[in-house]
């Protein structure tokens, strides 16, 4: 069976093009979390968190291990009682609703497949608890087994399954009750890399087809980028930034978020002047004195100390000084270079002594512009790529 790990053979389904209900002030969130906190002894696992999730979203909570992601999810599912705050799902306050009565299902980090039940018994368990008619259970289980391609393994016990197959049992078991919200705690973490990438797309397709709101927890930023309509970046029990994948990557709010999503270069700078009208500012880099323009909302004023962040792939390397408007240009020497086939990575020491990382697409086959160690080069990037951070 060559596609044994495929949830859906139909790979051509269009990726889900997100609408943007979070920009609409009229839209009513499907899940509202208000001032939610959870303490274990003196330790705050989740600290006064507010969050709105809209119907049909594939919402990702991203953060390092131990930052409180699972605890937040477990409060949503009803396994942990919050110390403070409110959870409203589809207009109903969940405070007094026990886990077994919530319109939510969860896929557990460890899958938590019942080891003493067959695949079929695992998947039908939720329907049996709902006291559905035998015939209906049978057809729905059959359909679900087909959807997750486990029909042939229906009579197997979990210990006779591979990791990927167990993952699909857990998914099917949670999906079969057609919940309003599906919570997924690190759904792909236990799979190997190849399977993980494949399953990512299957999850997106599945979510698109079923229209269920997904809340996914992950520590993998790449996974968060690929899957989500929006990402909440979490650290030490708090949300640092809640935005679309593009926004958290291109416009991080602070160094933590910027660093979380791949490599980024930071420069210390001083604001020279601001233009509130155009929402831009000019700033001067520390030591080199390079002047630059950047987009920025009105929260900065002249002589503020700021951090300018630039992604490595935004920077061009050249041996001659580039010409053009709105360019930020600085000089340096190539300290280190690495060739990865599709791209090359240069580490350039700027005149200020700082290492700047540059990632260049090798989009030409020619072997021109082969930079060598110790070459003097110009680094340049469009001013729109400058991200101004307050810290």
């Amino acid at each position: 069976m060559n596609n044994e790990n495929t949830i859906k053979a139909n790979q051509s389904a269009k990726p889900y093009v997100a609408e943007t209900p979070w920009l609409d002030p009229e839209a009513v969130p499907f899940i509202q979390i208000k001032g939610l906190s959870k303490q274990f002894d003196d330790f705050s696992a989740v600290d006064n968190v507010d969050l709105n999730i809209y119907k049909g979203e594939l919402f990702t909570i991203l953060g390092g291990s131990g930052c409180g992601k699972s605890t937040l999810l477990r409060m949503l599912a009803g396994f942990e009682t919050p110390n403070a705050g409110q959870i409203i799902i589809d207009g109903i306050d969940m405070a007094n609703i026990p886990a077994y009565d919530r319109p939510i299902n969860m896929m557990f980090q460890s899958y938590a497949v019942f080891p003493h039940m067959t695949v079929e018994q695992n998947i039908s368990y939720g329907l049996k608890k709902d006291k559905l008619a035998k015939a209906e259970i049978a057809t729905r289980v059959k359909d679900m087994l087909e959807l997750v391609q486990l029909s042939e393994l229906a009579k197997r016990k979990p210990n006779q399954l591979s990791g990927g197959q167990r993952q699909r049992v857990a998914l099917a078991r949670a999906l079969i009750k057609q919940p309003k919200v599906l919570l997924l705690d690190e759904p792909l973490a236990a799979l190997d890399k190849k399977l993980r990438e494949q399953t990512q797309f299957e999850l997106i397709n599945l979510q698109y087809e079923l229209g269920i709101t997904f809340v996914v927890v992950t520590h993998d930023q790449e996974e968060a980028m690929t899957l989500s309509t929006r990402v909440a970046v979490m650290d030490a029990g708090k949300f640092i930034q809640i935005d679309t994948p593009t926004q958290v990557y291109e416009s991080p709010h602070n160094r933590f978020v910027a660093n979380f999503f791949g490599t980024i270069n930071f420069f210390n700078a001083t604001v020279l002047s601001t233009d509130p009208e155009a929402q831009t500012l000019t700033a001067q880099l520390e030591k080199t004195g390079t002047q630059l323009e950047a987009k920025a909302e009105g929260r900065f004023s002249a002589s503020d100390e700021v951090t300018i962040a630039v992604r490595p792939e935004k920077i061009s390397v050249s041996q001659e000084r580039p010409e053009g408007d709105h360019l930020t240009i600085t000089k340096g020497t190539v300290e280190d270079l690495a060739y990865y086939g599709n791209r090359s990575v240069y580490r350039v020491r700027s005149q200020s002594g700082r290492i700047i990382q540059v990632s260049a697409q090798n989009n030409q086959r020619s072997e021109q512009l082969v930079l060598e160690w110790d070459d003097e080069v110009y680094l340049s990037w469009d001013s729109s790529c400058n991200v101004v951070l307050s810290e």
Binding site: Y100, S110, F114
Partner: protein, 307 residues
């Protein structure tokens, strides 16, 4: 030749001494079993086919080589036949099985919630609770049974307490009853129920309970559907550990039970030391062993099937 290479060779080829040592270490428990279980049992088994005589030892040899070749073997089924004919033995076996079975059930009913509670406690309380379970083993078993006699007797602590409180007018007959035997057995063997149950419950993945609740199971349904079936190995192990020693129990029914509490241990004792009928006593012991071994074999079989 470099040093690292030499180290490698050493790990690949275990010296003969290591292997011998390992076999020796593994062999000790088997040797122990052979010496102190199988050998005595073989002797008992042999005696069970002999005939009692007034002599030293008080039974006939199995072989008599002075006789004709056709009469060398003196073994006889008489003892076993006698066991089936005399009502006394049926009654004691039945009483033993019944007492052991009921005690096991009571141990299970009390022990399960205790084990569950211990498994769910925080790690510091858990250690304290486990200590408390094992604590009684630190004093002599006989002493503890005598303590129960002091508690349950006519003028014992329980009776005087109840009388002083005015709940009863005359002392209750508690000692020398079946109830006292059950109490003694449950009290003595309950740690053997709790510990294996605790071991299975403790290693059970708590997210399985969450998963059942998540799928709509109320707490009692989670218990029936998930906790109970998954703790079956612990239930079986604990039950065997209580049932097997309880069935042959001698001291507790002798000290706490009534004169009519004819458990097989008592019968066995009487045959050996009162009637001095060693062959018959050996037959009783052999049958007892068979009764005990059958459930163990069934358990082993079910374990193998599960794998």
């Amino acid at each position: 030749m470099s040093d690292s290479k030499r180290v490698l060779t050493k790990t690949y080829h275990q010296p003969l001494g290591d292997k011998l040592w390992r076999n020796f270490v593994i062999g000790i428990p088997y040797f122990w079993l052979l010496l102190f279980f199988l050998a005595p049992f073989a002797i008992v088994f042999k005696i069970s086919f002999a005939t009692p005589i007034v002599a030293q030892p008080p039974f006939t040899p199995l072989f008599d080589f002075t006789a004709n070749a056709s009469q060398w073997l003196l073994a006889t089924w008489d003892n076993y036949r006698f066991l089936t004919e005399d009502n006394l033995y049926w009654v004691s076996y039945f009483k033993s099985i019944k007492t052991a079975a009921i005690s096991t059930l009571i141990c299970l009913l009390i022990g399960y919630p205790m084990a569950y509670g211990i498994a769910r406690a925080t790690s510091t309380t858990r250690n304290i609770l486990l200590m408390l379970v094992i604590l009684p083993f630190w004093t002599s078993f006989l002493l503890r049974v005598y303590a129960w006699m002091g508690l349950l007797g006519k003028n014992g602590i329980v009776n005087s307490l109840l009388m002083n409180m005015g709940l009863i007018d005359s002392p209750l007959q508690m000692l020398y009853t079946d109830m006292a035997v059950y109490l003694g057995i449950v009290y003595t063997y309950i740690p053997f129920m709790i510990l294996p149950l605790y071991a299975t419950l403790e290693k059970m993945d708590p997210s399985l309970h969450d998963a059942a609740a998540d799928l709509g199971a109320k707490p009692w349904q989670t218990f029936i559907d998930v906790t109970l079936p998954l703790s079956m190995p612990g239930i079986i192990a604990g039950s065997l550990l209580v049932f097997i020693p309880a069935i042959g129990e001698y001291v507790i029914p002798a000290l706490l039970g009534g004169i009519d509490s004819l458990m097989i241990g008592r019968t066995l004792y009487d045959e050996f030391f009162v009637n001095r009928d060693w062959p018959l006593a050996s037959a009783v012991a052999t049958i007892l062993l068979i009764i005990v071994v059958i459930p163990i074999m069934l358990f082993q079989r079910s374990q193998q099937e599960q794998e």
